[in-house]
Symmetry: C2
């Protein structure tokens, strides 16, 4: 099965305690796809400007990632500038140049519309809903969001959530959306808004799955060195959805738990270097190796 | 097997977002014992003042907790005043009245000295070492410490750690003691100081065991309501050591992993109410129930 992902394709300028990089490749759809392609074919939807390198699109195509849904517009590519201080769980946005993203009007190419797995990365919930109107019949719709939309477009977000199976969001966002301090209560509350499965991402503390009353918690993969947390959440989603898309029974509780472990593994590679550098170096054996390692960390 | 615990017996005045309580029963040795007694007999060592209620000692005795090692001195009992704000992982000390604790000179009664399991709660590392000099031959020595000693008496702490099998400490303390930001690196570094097993407590994010290169991570028990985190760490240690003391092979990796789960379960009860209130209500069936629940949260 293939996955349609709709999200940003971006340049990032990032500063972490371990260095600063200027205008490197990033964006939610990019990170998601680079992780998910290890599991299944991916179909991207996004927008880029004249300055975006054709070579990266060619690289994506070489990895079974279809870029027919990426539109190139006059102007510059979306550019995010951010930094991480000692608390690597919190990205501090220094500057956002939306550029061509302001004209983002996601249109799925005809051959994308039969896809059974859809991931709506974090963007305007009104557009997220518009995308769902273009797919014919889906098995799994997963979605991400952030404080900006929870506070800025709460009604539109509520509308979108009604059609979502799995919502992925971080700890603070879960508390903001639900108004509950306890993550357990927050997940229950969000579950009533539509998505019956909630994945709460907790950065270096791992992630929690709430699946209709069943809870699964997976710790982050223990690493000695973290270089840049940018993209960790989107590559988590890529590994998570990638595993679901290649499963026979994607919404089964055990399948979802294994998907949480694969998501964690994919994120662990991303944070070891800037941009997709580490994801470009690894192969399936690396992924399986860390999957097995992580099971040893949680089981006995 | 029984356990000797050396630590504080105290009054606590605590303020949390859910209320304020004045001069309730607390102290590390008290919390530890109240948890460990569900698993095995406990022998306490500590100091109290004239104002400490005899009725609590009688309660402890009724629970298979020996108080022969508790000395009553002229003066007042140690009194800690603290508060927790929104971040329940961080206790803010408002005031510490050491009172009789200033004269603490731990002496083990003769019938304590053959005990095979020793827990040195957080106190002066010089005195911790003095206690170890009084036990004849031990199977397991576990120890807790804190920033105050890591920064204030680093040499004495290093001396004590040489004779310790298991060090329990929190995230920030592990980083301070090791000088390493990564918890994995911190654990390796501390391991070289003596204790081959390190338990890093992470509050609401659970706990990590580092056992000679093997890592095990257990999440906190998912709770809807937390009233007061005071004593969580010491009751974790009580459940952890209690399980080891009743095991045939206490330093085996699987035993230690199960002990981590029992420690987590005991802490989950403590935080549901002030002082030992919740611990006084539960029985073994409650403990086994949460143990089974927690396995469902981590396994598949």
């Amino acid at each position: 099965m293939s996955i349609v992902v709709v999200g940003t394709v971006a340049f990032d300028t990032v500063e972490t305690p371990w260095g600063r990089v200027e205008k490197i490749l990033g964006g939610s759809a990019n990170y998601f796809s680079m992780a998910a392609q290890f599991f299944c074919p991916v179909k991207m939807v996004g927008v880029i400007g004249e300055d975006f390198p054709e070579s990266h699109l060619e690289y994506l195509n070489s990895k079974n990632i279809c870029t027919d849904g990426i539109v190139r517009l006059d102007g510059k590519t979306f550019h995010w500038k951010g930094e991480y201080k000692r608390d690597l769980n919190e990205a501090i946005t220094l500057n956002t140049h939306l550029n061509v993203l302001e004209q983002f009007d996601p249109q799925l190419p005809e051959h994308y519309r039969e896809t059974q797995f859809v991931f709506l990365a974090n963007f305007d919930p009104r557009l997220q809903k518009q995308v769902l109107g273009q797919v014919k019949k889906t098995k799994v719709v997963a979605c991400d969001t952030m404080n900006f939309w929870i506070e800025g477009k709460p009604e539109a977000l509520r509308e979108t959530l009604k059609d979502v199976d799995i919502l992925l969001l971080n700890e603070g966002e879960a508390r903001l959306l639900s108004g509950k301090a306890s993550l357990l209560r927050a997940a229950k509350e969000i579950s009533d808004m539509g998505p019956h499965k909630i994945v709460i991402k907790r950065g270096e503390h791992g992630a929690m799955l709430y699946n209709e009353g069943n809870i699964f918690v997976v710790p982050a993969y223990p690493l000695e060195t973290i270089h840049d947390p940018t993209g960790a959440g989107d590559t988590f989603a890529g590994g998570f959805m990638g595993y679901l898309a290649k499963s026979l029974d994607p919404l089964n509780d055990t399948t979802l738990r294994k998907a949480m472990v694969y998501g964690t593994v994919m994120a662990s590679f991303t944070v070891e270097d800037f941009s997709f550098n580490r994801l470009k170096e690894i192969d399936w054996a690396h992924i399986e190796g860390r999957y097995t390692d992580l099971l040893k960390v949680i089981h006995f």
